[in-house]
């Protein structure tokens, strides 16, 4: 079943067009990636989907039209873990995580908090610490944890490993595997690092200067000459 | 970065309109020779127009919103009062020196202001005006009116002329001279640099504009012009006092005038100032209501016509003329 369906998306910054007719779908339960170099429009795409930017075109989510305001989008189960994290720097780790569940009224918030702490034990050790005192890797864990606290049907993850040390990157990578296996969560990842994207995802879209220029399963695209030369470096 | 240079398409109808207004204002004393109240009000309007234009070059063009323009007005005014009482120099020299002292005041403010942005800067200018007010109230009344705090009476030394009509022409001439100079400046490379700083200071800097230099220049120019208006004001009323020169209301009124007429247009604030002064002086029977009306109108303009009335009218007029000529052409075909 199609969970996310983006159709003919155009985004303008003033007169400059940042996205041109972007269309793609994400199936329920799938791990998909949008890859592309810096400035290709990945972050713009995610910001448009999560309601931070005005756009033209259609976005369907779980068979319905996606609402337009960010808080309604969060309510419908589409959660965006943004590039640059946008954490609440002067609040504690615990407050940040709990704010992730801001829209929820169910009784399983505590249980989800346990889940996040299982994924990232380091956060439990530092739950009282203010977020701005954490290392970059720990902050990224808080960002992912905060998104998970919203109990996403679809998680948008924008460059989760950008600027992190290799060891932290593999830690995050393992956590993504765990999320995927255990919770069968639908994830859409945006990555510059194509190797990382190919490692995790079933389906890949390649974005260049605001347009989708290649799409297919990871297996198919691994054999694509252009992608091999320009993005996989092998 | 985009430096949006204004289109060079001259709008002749507007130029013609301005010329007609100019001729009309030149003829006012001919038509109302007995009405010295009207002339007095129009002199005030010209002074306020100069002050509003000086605000516009600093705040409307260079984007450094000043809340304390009475600081420059007061510096110019007091310099005039002092010099004319102490030395009795000629008015032209004294008025120019009033401008120079206020320009120096501008440099004085610019020094700390260069480190400040947005609201901090506005606050700084406000503080400067309040501080000057307090300082002047400490003046000993030796050369002034005994008993009045910091007031200087300089009649007859700083009386330009007893002929109100002549004084009106002086004020009109000065206003037009300054309007022409500032208008030209605003269209020059300097004006472009000011606009670039207003629109995006980082980008302007990245584009190689020496923002510190241009901001300092904006303060000096604006200070000079405001100082000149303050100097002329003292020649008009024949005295200088903190309450007449440094009233916070002046600083608010110039903002109102610029907002009404159109910030960043130089010519717009002239109309705003005329409207303001005419309402203020002619609707005195309304008491406090006239200020209520003025501020309410300014707020509505800010809200609904954020570019100001003059630019909006100009746009409408141009559209109307274009559509009119378009129709005529169609009829011929």
């Amino acid at each position: 079943m199609k969970l996310l369906e983006v159709n003919g998306l155009d985004v303008f910054y003033g007169k400059a067009q940042a996205l041109r007719g972007v269309s793609f779908t994400v199936q329920e339960g799938e791990f998909a990636s949008v890859i592309g170099s810096n400035g290709a429009g990945k972050t713009t795409l995610f910001n448009a989907i999560s309601g931070l930017l005005p756009y033209q075109g259609e976005i369907g989510f779980a068979g319905q039209k996606l609402p337009s305001k960010p808080h309604e989008i969060v309510q419908s189960g589409l959660i965006h873990c943004p590039e640059g994290r946008s954490l609440f720097a002067y609040l504690s780790v615990l407050d940040n995580l709990q704010l992730g569940a801001y829209r929820r009224k169910d009784r399983e918030i505590e249980r989800d908090l346990r889940v996040v702490f299982e994924l990232f034990p380091r956060l439990e050790e530092r739950e009282r610490q203010l977020v701005h005192t954490l290392s970059g890797g720990e902050q990224q864990m808080v960002a992912i944890g905060r998104a998970l606290m919203g109990r996403p049907r679809l998680l948008l993850l924008d460059e989760p490993t950008l600027g992190l040390a290799p060891i932290v990157r593999s830690h995050i990578s393992q956590a993504l595997d765990a999320i995927q296996e255990r919770y069968r969560m639908t994830i859409l990842l945006a990555e510059q690092n194509a190797d990382f994207a190919f490692k995790h995802s079933k389906r890949i879209y390649l974005l260049e200067t605001g347009q989708i220029v290649r799409e297919g399963t990871a297996e198919e695209l691994k054999r694509d000459d252009y992608i091999r030369q320009a993005y996989l470096g092998s | 970065m985009i430096l949006h240079r204004r289109g060079r398409t001259r709008s002749y109808p507007i130029a013609v309109l301005l010329l007609l207004l100019l001729i009309a204002s030149a003829l006012v004393p001919q038509f109302f020779p007995k009405n010295s109240f009207l002339l007095s009000v129009l002199i005030l309007a010209n002074i306020w127009a100069i002050l509003a234009m000086s605000w516009d070059i600093l705040s409307g063009y260079a984007g450094q919103i000043s809340f304390g323009h009475s600081f420059f007005f007061g510096l110019g005014g007091y310099t005039t009062a002092f010099l004319s009482v102490l030395y009795g120099w000629s008015p032209i020299l004294v008025i120019a020196l009033g401008g120079v002292v206020a320009a120096l005041g501008g440099l004085l403010i610019a020094a700390p202001a260069l480190r400040l942005r947005g609201p901090y800067l506005s606050l700084m200018t406000l503080v400067a005006a309040l501080a000057l007010d307090r300082l002047l109230r400490l003046l000993k009344p030796e050369i002034g009116i005994p008993g009045a705090e910091g007031a200087i009476l300089c009649i007859p030394q700083c009386l330009l002329t007893y002929n109100t009509a002549l004084k009106y022409y002086y004020s009109l001439g000065l206003m037009i001279l300054i309007a022409g100079a500032l208008y030209t400046l605003a269209r020059s490379r300097i004006g472009l640099a000011f606009e670039a700083i207003r629109d995006d200071e980082e980008a302007a800097q990245a584009a190689g504009i020496n923002t510190a230099k241009y901001k300092t220049l904006a303060f000096a120019i604006s200070g000079f012009v405001a100082g000149v208006s303050g100097a002329f004001y003292v020649y008009h009323i024949g005295s200088a006092s903190p309450s007449s020169l440094l009233d916070l209301e002046h600083s608010i009124e110039v903002i109102v005038a610029a907002v009404l007429g159109g910030m960043g247009t130089i010519i717009g604030p002239i109309f705003g100032a005329y409207f303001l002064v005419l309402v203020r002086e002619y609707l005195r029977f309304l008491g406090g209501w006239r200020f209520f009306v003025l501020f309410a109108v300014a707020l509505l303009v800010l809200f609904f016509v954020p570019r100001g009335v003059l630019p909006e009218l100009r746009l409408k007029l141009r559209q109307w003329l274009q559509s009119g000529s378009g129709q005529r052409r169609n009829q011929k075909v």
Binding site: S50, H71, S86, L99, G150 | I65, I255, W289, A298, L302
Partner: protein
């Protein structure tokens, strides 16, 4: 004087915290904040002197009144133009002078001293006579600040306010509806301003242009404390409060001047304030 300084400082803190909250959350420097202080005082005078309501009812009416007016101002005036910083800045300035005129039209520009102290009498402590009313003002201000602190650090809405002031995008992405929270913040800010206005008026009286003094004090306080920082404002409020108290002991007409001097020093030496975070 030590105690009086402390009591007046806590009132300044109320004004300053409201001012800084609006800046922190909405990015708006509300130049009409002093006017909110004034409107609160005049609403109480209207209710007590003209409508002859009892004092507690008049106080409650004034606080509620400003708590309703402030979010209305945001909704009607500020929100449609909130992306244009300069326009908002000028709009709040014009609103402030407009409110002054409204008050002058209804009450004239004369000082009003007919809002009586909430409680009469006083006592003498270490040679200083302390009216009960001032003591009450200090206690109320501290309690209100304490409650506010508990509200923003303990409740969900309070945390959403803090979150919004720290990262707007992050707040949007966890589903915080910024406009609704901002309405709350304006309401709280207005209520705090009104409470301060009531007490200040009950000891000093009020006149329409006085609102500028309140604004300058609030502005100085938050600049000293660092714009947008609530703990910063609290500390700064006490510094400014003491400076004002000491200055007034020597020259009563200097109200507002001490804060100006401090402000000037801070602006030139450390524009981000004592507790300011580098860039906002």
């Amino acid at each position: 004087m030590l105690i009086l300084g402390f009591l007046i400082s806590s009132l300044y803190a109320l004004v300053a915290v409201g001012f800084t909250m609006i800046f922190g959350v909405a990015g708006v420097l509300n130049l009409a904040h002093g006017a909110f202080v004034m409107v609160g005082a005049y609403l109480a005078i209207w209710a007590f002197v003209i409508l002859k309501w009892s004092l507690p009812v008049a106080f409650a009416f004034a606080i509620l009144g400003v708590a309703v007016i402030a979010p209305l101002v945001y909704r009607v005036l500020i929100r449609p133009i909130e992306n244009r910083t300069v326009t908002v800045f000028l709009a709040t300035l014009l609103l402030a002078v407009l409110l002054e005129q409204v008050i002058i039209l209804f009450f004239s520009a004369k000082p009003r001293t007919d809002l009586p102290p909430f409680i009469q009498g006083g006592f003498v402590l270490w040679g200083t006579s302390i009216p009960y009313n001032r003591l009450l003002a200090g206690v109320v201000a501290l309690v209100v600040i304490g409650l506010l602190w508990a509200f923003v650090t303990r409740t969900k809405t309070g945390k959403a306010i803090l979150a919004l002031s720290m990262d707007r995008r992050g707040a949007a992405l966890v589903g915080i509806a910024s406009h609704r929270i901002t309405l709350w913040v304006w309401a709280i800010s207005g209520a705090l301003a009104a409470i301060a206005g009531l007490f200040i008026t009950s000891f000093l009286g009020i006149q329409p242009f006085e609102e500028r003094v309140s604004l300058v004090i609030a502005f100085s306080t938050v600049v000293l404390g660092g714009l947008g920082s609530i703990p910063g404002s609290l500390w700064a409020a006490f510094i400014i409060g003491y400076a004002e108290t000491i200055a007034q002991a020597f020259a009563p007409e200097a109200r507002g001047l001490a804060s100006l001097v401090i402000l000037l020093i801070v602006l030139t030496i450390r524009p981000q304030g004592l507790f300011g975070r580098a860039a906002t």
